[in-house]
């Protein structure tokens, strides 16, 4: 070990707390980088492997009903590889231990062969016996939520007939990595599950034997999707085809894509900001060290040490920071990554989603932190190289000061002397002030983000369930029914109010833009399911014309009063032109609404309803549930309270973890930057502060002089941070908002107060720790020394 290295070790020891502070900030950036890159890698790797092993399709479509023979015509389309057809039905389930009915989506599996596409992966038990009427496979998510095991039975209403179905196997499917009720933003594994059943048995139960209502296919190598989609759309249209879509639009796959997109954004932006702060801190620490060691450097140079060796000495200093930061960052990233992977199990069902460390990210982390530290150290070292030994032997000339801007503007009288000192110091080193301020603002900002999401989600939930959907329960029918069905619903025990609705699959067309969805027919002044405008006022549905979700109207390029073509995709496939009569402001999904009677007139099928929304008196709730489970012809039962509870649980868990991560990061940055600034300020002003002590200032007075700069910076940084956080939250929302969920930007006072409180506490504690160094001030020694 050379003597310079020995000096390095001793210097490091005396600066250990500052080095730890810089390394921690660096580690936050690196941890985020490693965590996000590794999670992207984990998700992408596992998804690709899973899709390949289970033969996940490339294109998908649902339709009303088509004969099996159509499959051969689909296969004959140029560019089509494998084709698999199946039956998919929604049914009502009676699950042991669950008071309310659950909704199941039952999919058929071919009886005497392995399906060509979308193969379920067996996790427990066995696959279905051919043509077994009472056997089902259950998705693992639902099985876990209800502790279902092979051998258990589940009662289901299949086309009006109650059947006891025996669970023979627990499976996963590439089609349901994200398993949520159709159109829902978050999973609800308690009340929604996916099942598989023999095609023969399911076909017979729903009078669909020899027919199918969903199809999925792969493209042959090199085939373009466009022409294939067009050809298959043409084939399916006569059979009630609702449009072919690609894997990129597959609801389950979209959710994985969304998550990866968010991770990619974070993996770049977050580390960039944290590493910049770390670079600045490195520069400040090493720059100060060089200033303190001016004379030592001069002596080394005078003795003949080459400048390069002395420069290297300080570069090694930075290397220690990089080493420590990388070590902490990688450890933190891997630990956080493992935690988040466990959180992903709440949302994504993969056979084995394990944390895969992205080695590339490891390398990038080392590189990024090295670059950050080098940028930080370079300017300081350049000063060492330039320093002529004779110059360095002389003390630095006294620093030049001038009255601060605010004083020059005539405010001098208002300021106390210590405030003037603080302002002039800040103005003399503007970059140091700006960067400290930015770092503190950043710490404040990153606290605002997760809480604004939490508040946004709560707002949507409250809006969705208190303003839009005021029913207790929504029951839908297998097939559109007559008004008699409504009378039957009204006769169920405890029903206070029942309002009918009708869903019709349509294609909405405006010029070249089109969109397939369901028009929901509601009673004009319904009190349960309501259509609401931007001012939270109910829009009475007009007897002609459509009310569209604002997002849908924007997507189609429509405004109020514009005409649009409506092609029904079921029944008589009526084609007509309607006018946009209003715009609804909703946050989940997109919808088109019509007055129920007007929709029925349009369809020319007489009075039909698809189901009803109901309020049920709480006293009769158990009886109601019992009755509804036994009601034939129901396809699904949506209970608001359970959906709401499940939503809250899931978001609470995921937001809670993310809040914790952000909290740790923000605290680290606030703590690190303030501690470091205070220590450097203390070191730069030791003489000044000691003088004040000698002149009779108490320790507290001197501490106040030391921290008044930081107080000013924090006072500027906190409001800036709140602005920054709000802007970041808004920016993130615009990238993550999809049609499924559009989170509004909700910024509450309590969110802001929390951010300010955390940063203030971190700042205060670190300032107090730094001020404790004032006790070690050797008054006599300081006064004797030259500066």
């Amino acid at each position: 070990m050379t003597l310079l290295d020995r000096k390095l070790l001793r210097d490091l020891r005396s600066l250990k707390s500052q080095i730890i502070a810089v390394s921690l900030v660096m580690a936050c950036g690196l941890a985020m980088m490693i965590m996000t890159r590794s999670l992207i890698r984990s998700l992408e790797t596992e998804r690709a492997r899973y899709y390949a092993s289970q033969h996940f399709g490339d294109l998908f479509a649902s339709l009303k009903r088509a004969p099996d023979s159509l499959a051969d015509r689909i296969r004959a389309v140029p560019g089509v590889g494998a084709v698999e057809t199946s039956i998919r039905m929604l049914v009502t389930l009676d699950i042991p231990g669950l008071a309310e009915p659950a909704t199941g989506q039952i999919n058929s599996l071919p009886d005497r062969r392995t399906p060509e596409l979308n193969r379920p992966l067996l996790r427990a038990g066995r696959l279905l016996a051919p043509a077994a009427r009472d056997e089902i496979l259950v998705s693992e998510a639902f099985a876990d939520a209800h502790h279902l095991l092979p051998g258990d039975t589940v009662a289901a209403l299949l086309n009006g007939r109650k059947l006891d179905l025996r669970v023979v196997g627990i499976v996963l499917s590439p089609e349901f990595v994200f398993e949520a009720p159709p159109g829902s933003a978050l999973p609800d594994n308690k009340t929604f599950g996916v099942f598989w059943m023999s095609a023969e048995a399911l076909g017979q139960a729903f009078s669909l034997d020899g027919a199918f209502n969903t199809v999925s296919l792969t493209l042959s190598p090199g085939a373009a999707s466009g022409p294939v989609i067009a050809a298959i759309d043409r084939l399916l249209t006569p059979y009630g085809g609702r449009g072919v879509y690609e894997r990129a639009d597959h609801p389950s796959n979209v959710r994985v894509d969304d998550e990866i997109r968010v991770l990619k954004g974070l993996s770049f932006g977050f580390p960039l900001v944290f590493l910049s702060v770390a670079a600045f801190m490195t520069n400040a620490v090493i720059g100060r060290q060089i200033a303190l060691q001016r004379e030592q450097i001069a002596i080394l140079k005078a003795f003949g040490f080459p400048s390069s060796a002395i420069g290297m000495h300080f570069v090694k200093f930075a290397c220690v920071i990089v080493l420590l930061g990388t070590l902490l960052g990688v450890t933190g990233g891997v630990l956080l990554g493992h935690k988040l992977v466990i959180m992903y199990h709440l949302f994504f069902r993969f056979p084995s989603l394990d944390f895969i460390l992205a080695r590339g990210a490891l390398l990038a982390a080392v590189l990024a932190s090295s670059v950050a530290a080098l940028i930080g150290v370079l300017g300081a070292v350049r000063r060492v190289l330039r320093l002529a030994p004779a110059d360095a032997m002389r003390p630095e000339p006294p620093a030049n000061f001038r009255p601060a801007l605010a004083e020059r503007l005539g405010l001098a009288r208002v300021f106390s002397v210590s405030l003037r000192m603080a302002l002039r110091n800040l103005e003399r080193k503007p970059w140091q002030a700006i960067l400290t301020c930015v770092a503190l603002a950043l710490a404040t900002g990153i606290l605002v983000i997760p809480n604004s999401f939490r508040d946004g989600i709560n707002h949507v939930l409250d809006f969705q369930w208190d303003v839009l959907q005021r029913q207790t329960v929504t029951v839908s029918l297998q097939e559109p029914g007559s008004p008699r069905a409504l009378a039957d619903f009204r006769a169920l025990p405890g029903v206070v109010l029942a309002e009918p609705f009708r869903n019709v699959a349509v294609e909405l067309i405006n010029g070249t833009r089109s969109r397939r969805l369901g028009i929901r027919g509601l009673t004009a002044d319904g009190t349960l399911q309501r259509v609401i405008d931007a001012n939270q006022r109910q829009i009475p549905l007009p007897t002609n014309g459509l009310v569209l979700s604002r997002a849908l109207a924007d997507g189609l390029g429509l405004k109020i009063g514009d005409p649009l073509q409506v092609h029904a995709l079921e029944g008589r496939r009526i084609k007509t032109t309607l006018v946009v009569a209003g715009l609804a402001d909703d946050f989940a999904g997109v919808a088109a609404y019509m007055e129920l009677d007007a929709l029925n007139r349009l369809m020319r099928e007489g009075d039909r309803i698809s189901g009803a929304s109901m309020t049920v008196s709480s006293g009769k709730w158990p009886e109601f549930l019992k009755a509804i489970k036994a009601t034939p012809a129901t396809a699904g039962v949506g209970i608001k309270a359970s959906a709401r509870a499940s939503f809250r649980d899931t978001t609470a868990q995921s937001i809670g973890l993310i809040q914790t991560i952000y909290l740790v990061f923000a605290t680290t940055v606030a703590f690190g930057i303030v501690y470091n600034s205070a220590r450097i300020s203390l070191s730069e002003r030791t003489r000044e502060l000691a003088t004040l002590r000698v002149l009779g200032f108490s320790r507290r007075d001197v501490g106040a002089v030391l921290v008044s700069e930081l107080v000013i910076l924090a006072a500027v940084a906190l409001p800036l941070g709140l602005l920054l956080g709000s802007a970041l939250a808004a920016a993130i929302l615009t990238t993550v908002n999809t049609e499924t969920v559009r989170l509004p930007l909700v910024l509450t006072l309590s969110n802001y107060a929390f951010a300010v409180l955390v940063v203030t506490v971190a700042t205060t504690v670190s300032a107090i720790l730094a001020c404790r160094k004032l006790n070690e001030l050797d008054l006599v020694a300081v006064l004797k020394a030259r500066d």
Partner: protein, 241 residues
């Protein structure tokens, strides 16, 4: 003002004052049983080689350090037993310091450097008045970096006297100055002592300065080697170098 309240009386009564730095074999006896009385209105010069103990004595008198043994009575109050906060109060209310390297706050102007003291002192002078006393009435709004060494030291003196201290302690006040500037500073000190009656103790290496004092103490090995009382104080202008 304090000096008017106690005309020509004993300000300090020092008995058996010792200061030992370190322990065991490494122990250094910086002061070794010093007995001394200092009176108001007096200008005392402390002479001695480096390591003789003169700075240690000054630091103890100034409440910057506590003795290992002995008594140090300031107007009936034994400073030897005072705690940190009492010493801070003592420094604030009683003592004015002047140092070799001026120790001005670089971010404050001359007026503000003096004003700093008047913020915490009990009955201070106006900063402008203090600066006029040292002849800097025209340089009040200059920052230290804009002042010469002598001017900076005069600001330091103005700062020290602005609180009208009973005791003015100066540690090598001309050590960093050239001859001519040094003389100006000494003149200021002499004038302050004469006009305000402040007990003034000046440490110096320069024996010539001794002629301006009422009393000259020579220290060696932590003891007072000799005490000389000058029959008359020589004006600074007449000092022979």
């Amino acid at each position: 003002m304090p000096h008017e309240a106690h005309p020509d009386t004993t300000v300090f009564k020092v008995r058996g004052l010792s200061k030992i730095y370190g322990t065991g074999h490494a122990a250094v006896h910086a002061l070794d049983g010093v007995d001394l009385d200092l009176n108001s209105h007096e200008l005392v010069v402390l002479l001695g080689a480096s390591g003789s103990g003169k700075s240690t004595l000054l630091n103890l008198l100034g409440g910057l350090d506590t003795p290992t043994a002995g008594e140090m009575i300031f107007r009936g109050w034994n400073l030897a037993g005072a705690d940190e906060s009492a010493l801070t109060r003592y420094r604030r209310d009683v003592v004015g310091f002047v140092f070799q390297f001026y120790n001005l706050i670089p971010s404050l102007t001359a007026r503000e450097n003096v004003g700093l003291i008047t913020e915490i002192a009990r009955d201070p002078m106006d900063p402008a008045e203090a600066l006029a006393l040292v002849g800097l009435q025209d340089r009040m709004d200059h920052f230290p970096a804009q002042l010469s060494g002598g001017e900076q030291q005069r600001v330091a003196i103005a700062r020290a006297i602005a609180k009208c201290p009973e005791v003015l302690l100066c540690d090598e006040p001309t050590g960093a100055l050239d001859l001519r500037t040094g003389l100006t500073v000494l003149e200021v000190l002499q004038r302050i002592n004469r006009e305000l009656g402040t007990l003034t103790a000046v440490i110096t290496h320069n024996a010539v300065i001794a002629d301006m004092a009422d009393r000259v103490l020579t220290l060696s090995d932590g003891r007072i080697q000799s005490q000389t009382t000058n029959a008359s104080r020589r004006p600074v202008g007449e000092l022979i170098w």
